[in-house]
Symmetry: C2
Subunit: 232 residues, 2 copies
DNA sequence: GTATAATTATGTTTTACAACACAAAGTTAT
DNA sequence: ATAACTTTGTGTTGTAAAACATAATTATAC
């Protein structure tokens, strides 16, 4: 791989972490960094594997999910560029408890966790970066527990649509979700069966809260969706 | 408060963190540290408040919980001596998303987060301590999502009993759970109604998996309980 | 371009669990 | 001790959502 490409990626796309490193650290990052492409639905890592790398999504979309009983997966977190993942299990000194897969063709950067670990020890700002990330994720995870266990189907689906909106935003028309996912993924995000995701989505269409064209979802009434998410 | 008592508490009970601090840091901790007692069911902090303190449970039992729709609380985490809590929201720069309350009369230590924050910046081992804690908690939280959403009532209650066993252990008889909680709390731990917690508990008694004497729960067949937890 | 598979859609049946109602036992206050 | 309240226990009813079934439509492979 061409070193200058990597240098550009790191100093440009990964600026957030990059800027807190000193020049020696930067050189070591450049040397250890690898770029990898993943196809649609390709698995990046799987539950129970030993965590060895810090992943950084540069282009595309990635889901973190966990397989439950009877192979019913639950999508735990959605990753967008430029976000980091794959580090939690290493820090906890555990095997992965969840898996990661690309939603669509994606480009990822990859660093050995041993190097990241070493840098955390030498660079306090980097330690703070991970403390912040972990703390935010833990808050979201705790909140998700309530959403998934206590809300009814409509509320859970509305919540999922809001999550997609907040995570990936709208297209240029300011209303079409900038991610096209299968009904099955939508179901796995909202803890329901695929049938019920389809049915409930149709309901929202009938109520003119959204329109649907295949996997393109257009949100017509976002306040109503937030309301259903909150009370449903 | 008598300074020597605090010094003993910190150097003895809180040895895990204490040992990684230098003498100047230790002195500052002793000066800022306060001891507080909480009565049974007393709230330590509540959702939406601004986080200001690191709490350390020295004696007693504490629950972290989150109120859901219609006032149905979900217990998110159980704290035992000596564990730390209350720091996540501060690190995430958010108000609390959950509340903390004492299960039983408890003694807690309390430090301003601003001081903790400063020490993390100056002491990398302390940064690592929190990275580890947060990472483990995030793993548990993600796993809990699957347990609460995909398991049936029996599996969820079995899981809760196992959690109590792993967290607080057995009494001297090696089978009685070392925590006596109301059926309602048991229900709030396992995402079910109080009636169903009572009913399902009775079921376990009939099947000779446990015995019940008021709030004393004796586990007769732990392997079976783990089995129900895993597949139920 | 046709076959095969996957996804989307909708109707029907079944069931796990909440909601409710009430009684008994236990706890706390006066 | 007695009352007032809380917790525990059990039966009944209602319902949300899963499970199942079966088309229709859309992708994908050959």
């Amino acid at each position: 791989m061409i070193k200058s490409v990597i240098e550009r990626v790191i100093s440009d796309d990964m600026a957030g972490i990059w800027k807190i490193l000193d020049s020696d650290e930067k050189r070591r990052i450049v040397d250890a960094f690898t770029l990898q492409n993943f196809k649609k639905n390709q698995i990046i890592y799987a539950e129970k594997e030993a965590p060895e790398h810090l992943w950084c999504l540069l282009k595309g979309k990635v889901k973190l999910y966990k397989d439950g009983l009877g192979g019913r997966p639950q999508i735990l977190r959605l990753i967008r560029p430029v976000q980091y993942f794959g580090y939690r299990a290493y820090f906890a000194d555990e095997p992965y408890v969840s898996s990661a897969a690309a939603f669509e063709p994606s480009t990822l950067g990859c660093l050995p966790m041993s190097l990241v670990s070493e840098m955390i020890t030498n660079n306090n700002q980097l330690a703070w970066f991970f403390i912040h990330e972990l703390s935010r994720n833990l808050g979201s995870s705790d909140t998700k527990i309530i959403n998934l266990t206590q809300k009814h189907i409509r509320g859970r689906l509305a919540e999922a649509l809001i999550l997609l909106r907040d995570n990936y935003g709208y297209e240029d028309d300011n209303s079409t979700l900038n991610i096209f996912m299968a009904r099955e993924d939508l179901a796995n995000l909202s803890n329901m069966t695929t049938s019920n995701a389809i049915r409930t989505l149709s309901g929202f269409v009938t109520e003119k809260i959204i329109t649907v064209d295949g996997r393109r979802i257009k949100i017509l009434n976002e306040p109503m969706l937030r309301k259903i998410s909150k009370f449903g």
